[in-house]
């Protein structure tokens, strides 16, 4: 018996020793690989990609879309300034009625499988995304497409059901080979081609050498899934990953010695209010909250001073539509807040009490909610409490079920259009989770969509924002700061005014 135990213990010790030995040799190998292969970059991402890497499935998460940006391209694509530039299309023309867009394809654009992009591929891809055959559009933005036709091998005409001056922004929809299904293989035209993925482990991309434009700098990109924020920091500090985006101020504070780039998240963080139910069906109450909540205080306390205040549903990087004047519509004014609340029937003996529901996995929103509760408490007549819920529960109960009083979250844009930020507040929008109903807004929004005149459209979209601010639909706070950390020898990361992660320029300095 004793002998057996001793033998077992000995065996265990030896195994452990072997493991440790193995560890050291592996560690050496790891060092070797980073030293020699300068073109391999490892990027940390906070969530695994979706099951489907189908670029036409709009339900994909922001995290998936920002990665797919490197693999797939549309006829046009956004640049770092937020302008749309030709990609697979060399040029395009719009008829005067703004309902037919004609694209001339660039020569010698190749798919990752080596074949050349022809008009047939474009027709197939756009028809598929617009659901022309099924009647059920895969991408809601393409619901207005009437038909897609190839006039010759290099020209494609897209006809719309109604004029839409913003339509070109939707032509970022990915082009895939005719007859293909992304479920069977991921083939695009982007600067990187897909190599492999392991669930919750990594996604490997490789430089596409036959790319039509400026080729990617890195030979290979490994996207490593690291959900835990602290582990992400450790992995950056240890050098296990070269780059990570979407970091928070608290994480950055631990990253001495790394390059930190500051951009913005391109979203609108607000205290979103259920406009349909008491107490927030009363505009005086909503305005009172706007007066009581000092945006800058939230930015200073929750974001360490990093963040960009906003006053309506548009973020600053969207320069064309962003109206800075709305930001200060409600200057912080406690007295005014108290008197507005008094008008609405709330005072110290009958305080306004409500619950802020926050998705617990988004620290910036949770932190902001805590500051908001503090600020509201200073009025002496508001009693707000925080309820943290799991993201899945938030999504189905708050966002889809509209069962909430107030929530702190961020709304972003999936395309470079103003309507991406504003469509949800039209009274009949299924995404109008705050149940905002305002005839003036609906009219202005409809007018913006109807016109093909750019100036007029911009004006109407600004009008929409002004209405949202004036009506105090929500307490708008900020566009969150977005930090990217890289190892000191990594260069070439660029921010976009959209939620994308362009890896083509990222490389290790020689």
């Amino acid at each position: 018996m004793t002998k057996r135990i001793l033998t077992l213990a000995l065996a265990a010790l030896m195994t452990a020793a072997l493991f440790i030995g193995g560890g050291q040799s592996a560690f050496a190998a790891e060092n070797g690989s980073t030293g020699s292969a300068g073109g391999n970059i490892t990027v940390g991402i906070a969530a695994d990609l979706d099951s489907s890497l189908d670029p036409h499935v709009s339900s994909s998460s922001a995290g998936t879309r920002e990665v797919l940006f490197n693999i797939y391209e549309g006829l046009v694509k956004p640049d770092t300034q937020g302008d749309l530039v030709p990609a697979i299309a060399e040029s395009y023309t719009v008829n005067d009625a703004a309902d037919v867009y004609t694209f001339t394809l660039r020569k010698n654009v190749r798919f990752h499988d080596g074949s050349e992009v022809k008009a047939g591929d474009v027709v197939y891809s756009l028809s598929r995304a617009a659901g022309l055959e099924t009647g059920e559009p895969l991408m809601a933005t393409l619901a207005g497409v009437q038909s897609v036709e190839a006039t010759d091998d290099d020209t494609v005409a897209v006809t719309l059901k109604a004029p839409d001056a913003e339509f070109i922004a939707y032509m970022t929809a990915a082009i895939i080979p005719e007859g293909s299904d992304p479920a069977d293989g991921i083939v695009g035209t982007g600067p990187f081609k897909y190599v492999s993925r392991a669930v919750q482990e990594n996604i490997v991309l490789e430089r596409f050498d036959e790319y039509w434009g400026e080729p990617a700098k890195a030979e290979q990109i490994t996207l490593r899934v690291i959900e835990d924020g602290q582990t992400m920091v450790m992995s950056l500090r240890s050098g296990a990953i070269d780059l990570a985006a979407h970091l928070e101020a608290s994480q950055v504070a631990e990253l001495d010695g790394l390059n930190i780039l500051e951009g913005s998240m391109n979203l609108v963080q607000a205290l979103y209010l259920d406009n349909a139910e008491p107490p927030f069906d009363d505009i005086r109450v909503r305005q009172a909250l706007c007066c009581a909540i000092d945006k800058q205080a939230v930015i200073d306390l929750a974001g360490d001073g990093h963040g960009f205040p906003v006053g309506s549903s548009m973020y600053p990087a969207f320069g064309k539509y962003f109206d800075a004047e709305l930001t200060d519509m409600y200057a912080p004014d406690l007295e005014k807040a108290v008197s507005l609340l008094a008008e609405a029937g709330y005072d110290a003996s009958n305080p306004l009490a409500f619950t802020i529901t926050v998705p617990s996995n988004y620290t910036p929103h949770v932190d902001a909610a805590q500051v908001i509760v503090e600020l509201l408490g200073q009025t002496g007549v508001v009693n707000a409490s925080i309820q943290q819920v799991e993201w899945a529960a938030w999504y189905s109960d708050v966002y889809q079920g509209r069962d909430f009083e107030a929530t702190v979250c961020g709304m972003d844009a999936s395309t470079l259009t103003a309507s991406a930020m504003l469509s949800r507040f039209a009274s009949d929008s299924p995404k109008n989770f705050i149940s905002f109903v305002n005839a003036d807004y609906d009219a202005a929004y409809a007018a913006a969509l109807a016109t093909v005149d750019d100036e007029e459209q911009t004006e109407q979209f600004k009008q929409c924002q002004a209405i949202l601010a004036d009506q105090a639909a929500n307490v708008y706070i900020q566009d969150l700061a977005d930090f990217v950390a890289t190892q000191p020898d990594i260069e070439g990361y660029q921010f976009y005014p959209l939620y994308v992660m362009d890896l083509s320029g990222v490389h290790r300095a020689a």
Partner: protein, 303 residues
């Protein structure tokens, strides 16, 4: 054993009925409308009676069809591919560490009970037992990863790349899990031995001219190890469950992390499968503990 597993899987199944959050919400994303969600629920069969669904799931599971992950759109077995190996390797390594450290240490401390080594170790044990593995994990990442550079935090190496590299990366996560457990087992074994030392048969053994060491080795150990065996078995099950947190801290692609993410995504087929696996391990280790105990102790031997 089978009944226990059935019961646990049924409970897990029912639990999903209670928690808020709907799998279709995640799947539909921005395209969500109540009508579409309803249609999708129908398509996925989620609108049927929970017991009917449980029966179907069970039939599938028994015949080797574990269902399709909602979130990854592929078979659960493919989603879990390689994940089980990571968790198994991590848990086993941690478990062997527990055994390798606690058995010799527990015996040594009991042998020199009251000595300086014993007093120091008993005090340290109290501390180690109280440290949660995730904290040790963070501590190790700092100390062994960033300061001493013995491993690269976040630099997980897949067994496909390098088997030894893979095991090497697991050493510190395993250690983080093993230390509190080893402290517990050490304490248990030490006090079990000391408890046995007061027994009459020990006095008899002394009267024959045995030294303290030979009394421990020849008589006490076998008796003292009985409760430890059961505890060690439970420890392995505990370690598997505890690896959930540690996998998070060390960014290990194991079952625990998959479980956590799948619960978040309401990916029930994956959750269900992992729950059954963990339940099986617990039940099986219990059974194994019984078998080993019976082997050691003739009094409860069957037949």
């Amino acid at each position: 054993m089978v009944v226990t597993l059935l019961l646990i899987s049924l409970l897990a199944f029912l639990a999903f009925q209670i928690v808020p959050g709907d799998p279709t919400a995640k799947l539909l994303g921005n395209d969500y409308t109540p009508e579409r969600a309803q249609a999708l629920r129908h398509e996925m069969g989620l609108d049927r009676n929970v017991f009917v669904r449980y029966r179907d799931w069970l039939t599938g599971f028994v015949t080797g069809d574990m269902g399709v992950s909602y979130n990854y759109g592929m078979g659960v077995d493919r989603v879990m591919e390689g994940k089980g190996a990571v968790t198994a390797a991590l848990s086993l390594m941690a478990w062997l560490m527990v055994i390798a450290v606690s058995i010799p240490l527990g015996i040594t401390l009991a042998r020199f009970q009251g000595g300086r080594l014993d007093r120091v170790c008993v005090a340290m044990n109290q501390v180690f037992m109280a440290i949660p593995p995730f904290f040790l994990g963070i501590l190790f990442t700092y100390v062994f990863g960033l300061v001493l550079k013995l491993f690269v935090p976040g630099g997980f190496i897949s067994p496909r790349e390098s088997f030894w590299g893979f095991l090497g990366y697991l050493v510190f996560p395993a250690l983080a899990i093993a230390i509190p457990k080893a402290a517990m087992v050490t304490k248990l074994l030490r006090s079990s031995i000391i408890g046995q030392m007061g027994q009459d048969y020990v006095r008899t053994a002394y009267s024959r001219g045995n030294s303290r060491w030979s009394v421990i080795r020849g008589h006490v150990l076998r008796n003292a190890v009985l409760p430890v065996v059961t505890f060690l078995a439970m420890t392995l099950a505990d370690i598997v469950a505890g690896s959930i947190i540690v996998e998070q801290v060390f960014a290990l692609p194991g079952l625990g992390r998959l479980l956590l993410a799948s619960i978040g995504n309401r990916d029930y087929p994956v959750v269900q499968c992992i729950v059954v696996i963990i339940a099986f391990i617990v039940v099986f280790m219990n059974y194994l503990a019984d078998v080993v105990t019976q082997y050691i102790d003739p009094r409860i031997r069957l037949g």
